[in-house]
Subunit: 339 residues, 2 copies
């Protein structure tokens, strides 16, 4: 089987790898229908996170080829979608909807998902089967549900996007763009996308953005305030993970409003006093995608949403290195790797 | 009229001061029924905040003696309770329940409330009249509603204390203790007070604490986890404002749980990555006491709650300096100054 290994920052290779097999009786093995590169894969690629011969990839959708002896909820032949964290989906934390913090959580794509096959632990609590075998054109959207859509959705839910609300979105990557889609689905009245790239602005508008703000930092905050009677947004999605983006999100939000932050925080430090006097609600973290998967799969199945259009570049798995370069250089929003 | 001036850290004096008068047509002047010292007054007293000949005091309850020409909702002779921030109570932020962030907010006790009389701006949006003239024994509780009760209440609401929830309370000052009372009123199943002082533990139990944890910092967090099946509290109230207390609150809370923080943050810095992976909800700031005043006044009036018992030392206004010393040295939880 072929799969992606990141040897070191900037050094991505596709290699022959051992075929995944059942290790625990709760495991499943999946043949991927397609795989992809995540914005968060760029952190190690750029040297901001440690990496040393790591199997890559944590987003996956495909057909179950093997199940362990204890697996009950999915069976061989099912088309399934999972999340980047495996969860038992039965503990108290899971039942509260926080499967990414499951007391038994572990990486969902145990052997790396940028490959032809992947082993998934805790299959019963992690995988959700689609109503049947999907049409080929639905596969990118189902793959997106596995992470970027689920993460953007969680950000919008955390920001309490909904009817009557003005939602600001900081970050025009796949997660930010799908946060727009989620805010629209949740009924937001007005959605302000913060983006200075024409192609991403266009996709943002397609997903439901009503306004575009090109300014960043303090100037971006000022623009959001101008658009909201000086008060700030009710709901802000932070989908970057830098200090600037986080402060932009907090400062763009009115007192009593909600910031949903899903950018993996790197070197972010929040001043307690500023947060205190901001009066915002702050919630985020690794998205409990599993909570939303049944609903998201149904919306995709019914063709109510088309999150798969965030994949603006498709390459064969063998060209993964070029896929990483394209995302690193922002030539592509998100790269789908065909297998 | 006599009133308290803080000349410098540690230097508190009671002096003859000018009688407050109406300045704006939306002002009222109140004759205080009693006044008190706030835990937050200790920040400047201890040199942690700038102070230079400041009139002190921001908690007040008493009888209206004068109103400006535009005041409609209260009249001379009414017994009223107000908040430490004056608010119009009509702007969009106020209507959303965040009166401490009102677009017209200003200090509620414009001339300082540790005195015989105080001028309150925006009287219509700030003051709430009691159903009649209160019995004398209700006055400490009505005064507590003005800040410490309203703040503890907001902390408990922000922490989403309620039925079935385990609530941890960091801080055993008046606000933390009244956070216990609030959590109890909101229906919390279990309330864990973090305190190592026998008198405060006793008051905590009286207000509804079911468990006491004496450990602090990491050991305190560990104890909370032991008491909650290793998961952490659903809801945590932070009522101190230091780095240690804030981290204790965040770490004592399960993923998906809620931290309500009302300690005025001093030199607190939150690591973005830790907050990200904690999965908690964080909300707090200066409590919008005005939102809760009608309900709190009624509960006091009906003798459902007795927050006034946090005043464990009563001194005449003339002895304010001794009151500050007693609170600074933690000989008193909260000092009432009779006028």
């Amino acid at each position: 089987m072929r799969g992606v290994i990141m040897y070191a920052p900037g050094d991505v290779r596709v290699e022959d790898r051992e075929m995944p097999a059942i290790v625990e009786p709760t495991d499943a093995v999946i043949k991927l229908a397609a795989t992809c590169i995540c914005g968060s894969d760029l952190w190690p690629y750029r040297g901001a996170e440690h990496v040393d011969h790591n199997p890559m990839g944590h987003e996956y959708a495909g057909v179950v080829t093997q199940i362990g002896a204890d697996v009950r909820n999915v069976t061989v032949g099912d088309f399934v979608v999972g999340s980047f964290f495996a969860s038992d989906n039965t503990c108290e934390i899971c039942r509260a909807g926080y499967q990414t913090h499951c007391v038994h959580r572990q990486p969902g794509a145990a052997t790396g998902a940028q490959s032809e096959y992947v082993r998934v632990p805790l299959a019963d609590g992690t995988l959700v089967a689609t109503p049947g075998q999907p049409d080929t054109d639905l596969i990118p959207s189902l793959l997106a549900a596995s992470d970027v859509l689920g993460t953007g959705w969680f950000a919008a839910v955390s920001a309490e996007a909904g009817p009557g609300k003005t939602v600001a979105v900081v970050g025009d990557g796949a997660v930010g763009l799908l946060g727009i889609l989620a805010a629209k689905q949740l009924g937001a009245e007005r959605i302000i996308a913060m983006s200075r790239h024409a192609d991403r602005q266009q996709l943002g508008r397609r997903f439901g953005a009503t306004d575009i703000v090109e300014e960043r930092g303090d100037a971006g905050v000022e623009r959001i305030r101008e658009l909201t009677d000086g008060l700030g947004a009710h709901s802000t999605i932070e989908a970057v993970g830098t200090q600037e983006a986080m402060m932009q999100a907090i400062r763009a939000t009115r007192a009593g409003g909600h910031v949903g932050f899903v950018g993996v925080s790197h070197d972010v430090s929040l001043d307690g006093q500023e947060l205190f006097f901001s009066g915002v609600h702050l919630h985020g973290g690794p998205a409990p995608v599993r909570r939303f998967l049944p609903e998201l799969i149904q919306l995709i199945w019914d063709r109510e949403i088309d999150p798969g259009v965030v994949f603006d570049l498709t390459l064969p798995l063998e060209q993964a290195a070029e896929g990483y370069r394209a995302m690193d250089e922002r030539r592509a929003i998100k790269v789908l790797l065909s297998v």
